[in-house]
Assembly symmetry: C2
Homo-oligomer: 225 residues x 2
């Protein structure tokens, strides 16, 4: 009986200066020509490796990201998930046993984009931030499904602590509001939003202001401690 393999796949969110929620995808060559395929960063788990440890290792090896927030959200185990024709080129190129079943465990990661510019860890693929509205629908394997599941999870689990992992170390209240609006998928009232956020007492005003904007500059805020 052939074994079942275990992998980790990561849905990595970033929130940009252009105020869009993005996900980090890898773009792998799938042959000697220029053909490529997008996928979530992920790889097989090592034999004696804890799940979270494996997730961190894989993330680092594919994207150089380190010390970032990572949380398991779901396991995906459809026996057919790696059997589609479109995925065979990739599997033959990157897996020793392309025909074996792989169950994958999905992790969410939240990243301050300012602190990190993804670097390809190999010439065979690059990494790329993609607006979640613009993700192609032909990701590898069942990665579109996993991604959608991850987005749902993020939206359901919104809390101030989680969100702090997405914002730059200095941010304006408008940026914060905008992020909430994207995640909640609704427009918020500016005054009410500020009232609420000030009650919650986990951010504080600095005395720095925005520069170079052609309107009244906003004060910058940081998370306490």
């Amino acid at each position: 009986m052939p074994p079942i393999n275990l992998s980790i796949d990561c849905v990595i969110f970033g929130f940009d200066n252009d105020q869009k929620l993005k996900v980090l995808l890898i773009k792998k060559n799938i042959n000697k020509k220029n053909d490529y395929q997008y996928a979530l960063p992920g790889d097989l788990l090592n034999h004696d490796e804890d799940l979270l440890t494996g997730g961190k290792r894989i993330l680092k090896s594919l994207t150089s990201l380190e010390n970032i927030f990572l949380r398991q959200f779901h396991a995906f185990g459809n026996p057919e998930r790696t059997k589609q024709k479109k995925d065979q080129a990739w599997l033959r190129l990157y897996r020793k046993k392309p025909e074996e079943r792989v169950v994958t465990i999905g992790y969410i990661a939240l990243v301050k984009m300012e602190e990190y510019v993804p670097q390809a860890a190999s010439f065979a693929f690059q990494t790329e931030w993609v607006n979640i509205k613009d993700v192609p629908d032909n990701l590898a394997f069942d990665h579109n499904y996993i991604l959608d599941y991850g987005i749902e999870y993020l939206k359901e689990q919104i809390d101030h602590k989680l969100i702090s992992n997405l914002l730059p170390s200095r941010f304006t209240l408008s940026q914060l509001q905008h992020l909430y609006e994207i995640l909640l998928d609704e427009k918020l009232d500016k005054r009410n939003f500020r009232k609420n956020i000030s009650k919650i007492d986990i951010i504080k005003k600095t005395n720095e202001k925005q520069e170079g904007v052609r309107h009244k500059p906003a004060y910058l805020y940081t998370y306490k401690i």
Copy 2:
């Protein structure tokens, strides 16, 4: 390199006539004497089996439960989770390769206890409903941890739809309230509770009443459709 095995473990909740939240455990003999150990119902996944399908198969084979609500909540993959001394007797008795690593995926199940009396599927073990307050702290493997995780999950995910799987087909508003009180871990005001539940419009009053109680008999309710 030895393979990683995959298993499914089920945290099965029931809500009793005695108004206690219970979990279904199996009690396995671990040698020819009378020694036994409690564990969550669970077993290895078959090679070509979908996760949910496997969960249902395992549940049925261990407890005869069929057609019940089942939802994945977390994967547990600590490489040491089956390495403790206390678990070796069991492993040698029930597993072909007791030394191999096993990653398990936890599922929650909710059961109407009235509709089911668990039956042992083999002479080697019995099943037993145990009040969650009375679960021994030496379950097999990391099952105490998994159970606690499952209880947390249930409490966080409370919603009316979920809860409908726990109650008998006819129930009183007091029973419903009591269940919410256990899950929310707080006392609720009777009048306010009834106001709220009536807004939500997913249960309806029948014109049957309790019988044989030595107080004013309560009307019985059912879930709509």
